[in-house]
Amino acid sequence: MKDQNHGPEDPQGPQGPRSDGSGAPDGSLDEEALRALLRGAVSDLEPDPEALEHIRRAVPARRSRRRQALVGAAAAVLLGGTAVPALYHAATTGGVADDRSTNTASSQRAQQSAPEQHTGGGSGVGGGAGRESMSGGKHKDSGAPGHEKSENRTDGPSGTTSSPDPDNTSTMAATSPSCDRDQLGQGTAKVGQPDKDGRIYGSFRVVNTSDEACTVEGGGTVSATAQGTTQSSRISVVDHTTGDAATGLPDPATAPREVILKPGQAYSVQFAWIPAAGGAGGCSTGGGGTPSPGDSGGGSPSPGTSTSAGTSSKAADTAATEVLGIGGSKPTGEDPGTPQPTGSVQLTHVPEVGEPAAASATIPGACAGTIYRTGALGADS
């Protein structure tokens, strides 16, 4: 090793630029010497000539990706389940209630793997589909090409500038997560039976599928999409707080700040659907309808609601409803083209680290109400 603290620097040495003031005359390392040493050590570093161009391409892509995560998840579900009428619905109502104000999505999304995702940014959805939410890619091809195309221009402003910044209130203070998005998978969702007041509890579960332990710091997003006759304006997603209506959720005071996942372990995000008024999912109108042919619920009627006969196939499932995302699996139990005669709410969980969505769940017979959600919790099994 070279001695930077004594005597003149080796003139042809690799650390040429650090020769100024790199050491105090007496060899001790004082603060000023350290300052000079630190600067000198990295003064030769040259930015990648492509860096600015890369960032310039990636920024609008990242912005639109955020919106796509919401719009995409919504549209995938809608196309899978309710096709055009619901799509119109989503398009006109905004479709998504989100709890973004309470998380640090931007500082957490698309971790270290993000640069790879963005290097191909110019190719937009087509090239990125493999890394993006399967739900997004799927419906983009089949659904509303014009709309999505404009969203996905990575070199242009169209469709990206009018959106409110979803991260207005987030801070950079949160520490970065350790779990990369591609370490998380096997996302599942459970939706329980409604109680006598129509409250439904459920949870998402996401597994560390990598062979390394990693840390999940933050609960990601839970976004709600209105389906069928449900109006998104009547659905909201909020963080569960002590003393709120979702008494069945764990006390947030005891929630961990981070969850460390060994390989194979999972974290969970629990949620509660609290209908706005008088049970029946807040629905004011009953609905008939025939059970969906693709019904995976075994024909069990949705209990406790006036719309049970025609509610979605998920009505009485207590097991995982569907798995979207990482493995590219299609929504199961959905029967494309079968209109849902009544309203329901689709919940989609995106891990803190970013898209794609890890899992989705359907709350049947939900018309108006509030979804309370927890942060990331340890999941025992």
């Binding site: 650390q15 300052r35 630190l38 600015l52 971790q111 640069p115 910044d165 970065s176 332990a213 990693c214």
Partner: protein, 166 residues
């Protein structure tokens, strides 16, 4: 805000800060191959959130904060990986070029990497990024007293490492 405005601002902040942030990342990370990725990711994140780039002063603070966070995350992942799986170091061949190559052989860098992470962070933010102790405390989320303690211990440890015959 028009996108064009943002892009111009992006170029501006890139010119003003990219190089110094690259240095920050290089000093914090023990994996020089990731420096560019970390800094670019920081730019992308900060500039994707438009409200973060309105105040130039804060833009730099956000960028630095993000670089620190991302560096720490990468560090931690590597530590975990090494401890749990005794994995070999990531392929360093990609880093073996030019300035990064030199960095790998730099005595100061080597000594810095021997420090505790917190000590290294404090020294880098304090003396490379020229933050005040209060700013360092805020950035790292630790107390002012801790900043002072990590700083003085870090310098002492560095002094020992640097003066030891290499």
């Amino acid at each position: 805000m028009a996108a064009g405005t943002t892009v111009d601002h992006l170029t501006e902040t890139y010119r003003a800060h990219y190089r110094s942030l690259l240095g920050l990342a290089a000093l914090l990370l023990d994996d020089t191959a990731s420096c560019e990725d970390v800094v670019q990711e920081a730019f992308i994140r900060v500039h994707s959130a438009r409200n973060r780039v309105r105040d130039p002063e804060k833009t730099l603070a956000y960028l630095r904060q993000t670089v620190v966070n991302l560096s720490r995350s990468a560090l931690r992942r590597r530590i975990l990986g090494l401890k749990l799986l005794s994995k070999p170091m990531p392929d360093m061949a990609s880093a073996e070029e030019g300035a990064y190559d030199l960095l790998e052989r730099d005595q100061l860098i080597t000594a810095m990497r021997g420090l505790q992470r917190r000590q290294r962070e404090v020294l880098v933010l304090r003396y490379f990024a020229d933050m005040t102790e209060a700013q360092v405390a805020q950035t790292l989320g630790i107390s002012l007293g801790s900043v002072k303690a990590y700083g003085s211990r870090g310098i002492a440890a560095l002094r020992v490492a640097m003066e030891a015959p290499a």
